[in-house]
Subunit: 181 residues, 2 copies
Amino acid sequence: MNFCTQCGSRVATRVPPGDHLSRFVCDACGIIHYQNPRIVVGCVPEFEGRILLCKRAIEPRRGYWTIPAGFMENGETLQQGAARESHEEALADVTIGSLLSIVHVLHAQQVHVFFRATLAQAQFGAGPESLEVELLEPGRIPWSDIAFPSTDFALRRYLEDRESGLEPCHFASLGRRVADS
Amino acid sequence: MNFCTQCGSRVATRVPPGDHLSRFVCDACGIIHYQNPRIVVGCVPEFEGRILLCKRAIEPRRGYWTIPAGFMENGETLQQGAARESHEEALADVTIGSLLSIVHVLHAQQVHVFFRATLAQAQFGAGPESLEVELLEPGRIPWSDIAFPSTDFALRRYLEDRESGLEPCHFASLGRRVADS
């Protein structure tokens, strides 16, 4: 951040009085610009035992597989956001179920919140951000081509829980991702 | 938002190509400035059946009671944020437990994430954002002076769950708050 969003003056970086972290501060208009983690929301959609996965058409990780997910928007609930992303990326109408996983992606200042979900029908397709979309048997999931560690985490916990019949919420924290291979 | 954080030019408001929502766009440097919900994180700390509550020393809702909570910072987990807020607002060292509630505060573009928590000792005090801090028997909770609906929701679900012995995660969505009384 270089400039103040309110008045356009150049911002300084320092710890404000009473605070303990360095912030972007505008000395012209006095505003402190806080930076906070953003929420990525998505779901693991299932239809008759198969999982809906999308091959990404955009960076980062173009060509790798993921579950429908994206940045939560203002004015929507987490469940609405997860359903919206499924509709946008996989042209799929999902019913959002229980909370599956929350992954802190610390280096990206993101919190990834994923739900269990079901498709009422095997109707789906590639939205503009997907190269292709498939309903895959768990044994056919391309584990070495999964786009993000948080997706891998959610898929593995989802399948384990399906075996056990329980639906807990799983937490994980991730540091910096290793270089793309 | 009036000015671009990167180049300081005045931003425009429109729907970018391929998008479906209006965004702040900088025509000078091309950046799209997305606005996303912020996370407020906190906990319900318990010690020997009593609940730790803080009387707020700052606006909004100065003088009303709440659980320790505040904006999640970059670089921390939700659990670390909840523990940090307890330390800052109530000078209390808490052990964070299971996920209690997620409340979508739609009009404020916030998601409130609260955990169950315990205090190992009855050691606490008023941090700079609190007028006073008390360990209260559930029967003494000042329900008519609770600062925020999401706090009220979390406290009620916490006490109900304690009766039942279960620890589910509760969801709620709140629209605009009625005027302060």
